[in-house]
């Protein structure tokens, strides 16, 4: 292992981390960012941002997608170089050259998309790149050290397990441990609760408080999980449009205030669920089983039905068979066993296009990979759901004039922010692209709407819009299957809630009787009978 040259400051090389932070008292400012500005082409992602961190605090950074919080944190971790601005650690101005410099200074970052080698063991992941690892790995000694760390902060992970065997919560714990093992004193967490079950979230929050108590500065940055911010943070910095709009003590804030600061207008948290008299059964699924891409059973003996004017929500943590369920119903994945009936007709083996013709509309979870083609114009993207309709195709020739009219109409109706109907799919933001996909599906007035993770990764405004449209589809007589990893969303929109765990439906509960804790336990694998 070669010795890294020390990080330079305006006063010569920076003293070692231990020296630097030796006498830090809780509440003392350890890190400061002053006037940080970052531009991407003609967009200002960070506009003269001032930000500071104190020892022993949990400092939430709040903002919508595109508000600039990821950019700011990436600058702090030196994944990005700021155009202007300075970073000070305990008053020393530092010039970071790479993430390695940041790590050596005690800054650790846990990314939203896991930065772990799935095929390796936990301990191998933790020691990877560690200067103390030595030439010949001494995993025993490392294991002991990491065990001590996990006990201190309350993490539970099997160090010999392979990462792909772990749950999302455990993987996150591994990343945090890795950062701590590298000597992190400032820990940046990117949307830390996104993929976690309610139980795992609780445990994470406990560990965060634990870490802060012991002198670490913890920075979760978050889109819209306001309850979480309020639960654990000491201070909040709210970003909007690349600028700091507020920095306040959490005890002076409430949900409404933070939401208003973040979005810039009042936000409705409670959407009224319209009551619709359910009609006949539209979709009947009986004993459905399917395999995932690796050939392992992903769905086992799944049965449910959805009526006209009803939303059935599938609640579950990522990777429990939701994706396979949506694909089997849409016709993209063969069913191994069981039967799918649509309006009484067996469509288990019906081809995809026939399902569209019969009135099934599918909003795939992967909006840029499966939902749209980035290099196609919006007209062409809309046509992807219409190219087989007599209305828009005459003897095999597409009627571009009418397709263009339709697209323009949809852009107006859904308020899609696009340069025009000839804009390419990839020019649109995630929210607007999702609106296009939603619009073209709903324009077919589907009898059955399959919505897989329809609001994932969208900001508050777009989320609100998509939810409203799904409810509107229901009142107009669609049967809706809503698959979501956001438990609150499922509870908010669904008439009945099915909890899925490892490919099985753990139970179906009517919305009036559903309790958050109960569904939370069910998606963690605790059966309904046991929990009630």
């Amino acid at each position: 292992m070669q010795q890294q040259p020390p990080v330079s400051t305006d006063k010569g090389p920076l003293p070692s981390l231990e020296e630097l932070l030796a006498d830090v008292k809780p509440g003392e400012t350890v890190l400061e960012m002053r006037g940080v500005t970052k531009r991407f082409a003609d967009v200002v992602a960070n506009d003269r941002i001032d930000f500071d961190l104190r020892a022993g605090e949990i400092h939430a950074v709040l903002g919508e997608n595109g508000a600039g919080k990821t950019t700011l944190m990436n600058i702090l971790f030196r994944l990005l170089h700021p155009d202007e601005g300075e970073i000070y650690i305990r008053g020393h101005r530092v010039h970071l050259r790479s993430p390695v410099d940041a790590i050596n200074l005690g800054i650790g970052m846990v990314h939203q998309h896991r930065k772990l080698v799935a095929a390796h063991t936990v301990i191998e992941n933790i020691v990877l790149g560690h200067p103390k690892a030595g030439r010949v790995l001494n995993l025993k000694r490392a294991e002991e050290e990491v065990k001590a760390l996990s006990e201190r902060y309350g993490f539970k992970v099997d160090l010999r397990a392979r990462v792909w065997q772990l749950s999302e919560g455990e993987k996150q714990a591994v990343e945090i441990l890795k950062a701590l093992y590298r000597g992190a004193r400032i820990l940046i967490l990117d949307e830390p609760t996104t993929a976690l079950t309610p139980l795992e979230t609780e445990r994470l929050l406990e560990s965060m408080v634990n870490m802060a108590r012991q002198g670490l500065a913890v920075v979760p940055f978050i889109t819209h999980k306001l309850p979480m911010v309020l639960a654990v943070s000491d201070r909040v910095t709210v970003l909007r449009g690349g600028q700091v709009v507020a920095q306040l003590n959490t005890r002076d804030a409430d949900e409404q205030l933070l939401a208003r600061l973040m979005v810039g207008r009042e936000v409705l948290f409670d959407i009224q669920r319209p009551q619709v008299e359910p009609g006949p059964i539209v979709l009947q699924v009986e004993h459905l089983s399917a395999l995932n891409d690796k050939g392992v059973p992903a769905l086992e003996n799944v049965s449910f039905s959805i009526r006209q004017g009803e939303i059935l929500g599938i609640a579950g943590v990522s990777g429990n068979g939701q994706r396979e369920l949506a694909e089997v119903l849409a016709g993209m994945r063969p069913a191994r066993n069981g039967r799918i009936r649509f309006d009484g007709r067996d469509i288990t083996h019906a081809p995809i296009r026939e399902r569209w013709r019969l009135g099934i509309g599918y909003i795939p979870a992967e909006r840029t990979e499966v939902g749209s083609i980035g290099d196609f114009t919006l007209v062409e993207n809309v046509l992807l759901n219409f190219y087989f309709d007599d209305e828009l195709v005459k003897r095999g020739v597409l009627d571009y004039r009418r397709a263009r009219e339709l697209t323009r109409h949809l852009i107006d109706e859904y308020g899609i922010a696009a340069p025009g109907e000839d804009a390419r799919g990839r020019q649109l933001s995630g929210g607007n692209l999702q609106k296009v996909i939603l619009a073209r599906v709903l324009a077919r007035h589907p009898r059955l709407l399959l919505a897989a993770l329809p609001t994932q990764g969208l900001d508050i405004g777009a989320t609100e819009f998509v939810r409203k449209k799904i409810l509107e589809a229901k009142t107009q007589g669609s049967a809706v299957l809503l698959i979501s990893e956001d438990l609150d969303e499922v509870l908010m929109l669904s008439d009945r809630i099915a909890a899925i765990y490892e490919g099985r439906i753990m139970g179906i509960v009517p919305a009036e009787k559903a309790r958050r804790e109960q569904i939370g336990a069910m998606i963690a694998g605790i059966s309904e009978e046991a929990s009630s």
């Binding site: 080698v117 095929a119 990877l128 690892a133 010949v136 790995l137």
Partner: protein, 291 residues
């Protein structure tokens, strides 16, 4: 019979060298389908250098150098330029086939040097192969460097944020892979069959490549596979030694390739694919380019 076995082990050593190089390449995420070409270069230039200098050492060093050069060339295309690794590898193979035919043609014929001394009836190359297998197994699975190589092959962006230079590790891997392939070629043309002829390797490089896939990227299994193919190959050359009178030798010569096809069918089964998929370096063949 001993003669037959000894020749099989010598053949196995050649598969082992080429395979080990490719295995390290692939553990680091780089696929070099052109090792046949690198072997041809190593064999031909090693042959020429040895014959001209009347020294095996000079021949082997020449083979190592040309292997290193070609490995780095493949690295330049696949790491720095980020082009399709299969295309780059195929290019190296075709260049190897054409150029070595052109360069080597005047040297057609036997090497005409004293045979390399054997130890216990086997060449030093066989023992070197076994030592390398163990050493590389230790390196890959027990050392820090090995962990870095495997991480770069599994998930380069993870390696990068852990402070590892993906480019440096990958260049190291292709350099090693190229040297091993060049060396394997020279062992063939200087010891195993010291006669230069047009396209004398006849697909050994491709068999070594296939062996790496069958080995699930584990040097120990690779060694076992190399032994199996060494025996099969020898069997195809002199079937009369073991099974006199049974089938023509042209049928036997086909056997290693037929077995390759069989193994391919085997590894396409669901049972195998899940295990194999877990062992396969996830970033294999994918260039790592930062935006």
């Amino acid at each position: 019979m001993w003669q037959f076995l000894a020749r099989s082990l010598e053949a196995a050593a050649i598969f082992t060298f080429a395979g080990l190089g490719e295995l390290v390449d692939q553990r680091g995420g780089i696929l070099n389908v052109g090792i046949e070409g690198v072997m041809l270069f190593g064999a031909t230039l090693g042959f020429i250098a040895a014959q001209n200098s009347n020294s095996y050492l000079v021949g082997l060093v020449a083979a190592l150098l040309i292997g290193l050069l070609l490995g780095l060339l493949h690295g330049f295309f696949s790491i720095t330029l980020g082009v399709d690794q299969v295309v780059s590898g195929m290019g190296i193979w075709i260049a190897g086939l054409g150029l070595t035919t052109y360069i080597g043609n005047p040297y057609t014929g036997p090497l005409g040097m004293e045979r390399i001394q054997t130890i216990g009836g086997l060449s030093p190359f066989f023992y070197l192969g076994v030592v390398l297998v163990v050493a590389l197994w230790f390196l890959l699975f027990k050392t820090s460097l090995g962990l870095k190589i495997r991480s770069v092959g599994e998930n380069p962006s993870v390696a990068e944020v852990s402070g590892i230079s993906v480019t440096a590790i990958r260049y190291g891997c292709v350099a090693f892979g190229g040297m091993m392939a060049g060396f394997a070629g020279a062992v063939y043309s200087l010891y195993y069959n010291p006669v230069w002829n047009y396209n004398f390797l006849m697909g050994w490089g491709f068999i070594a490549l296939a062996l790496v896939f069958f080995s699930m990227w584990n040097p120990i299994i690779l060694q076992a596979g190399a032994l199996l193919f060494g025996i099969l190959w020898q069997l195809s050359l002199n079937p009369q030694l073991v099974l006199p009178g049974l089938l023509s030798r042209y049928v036997w010569r086909m056997v290693p390739f037929a077995i390759t096809l069989l193994v391919l069918i085997l590894i396409s089964t669901r049972w195998f694919r899940t295990r194999w998929g877990a062992a396969k370096p996830e970033a294999l063949g994918r260039p790592y380019l930062k935006e």
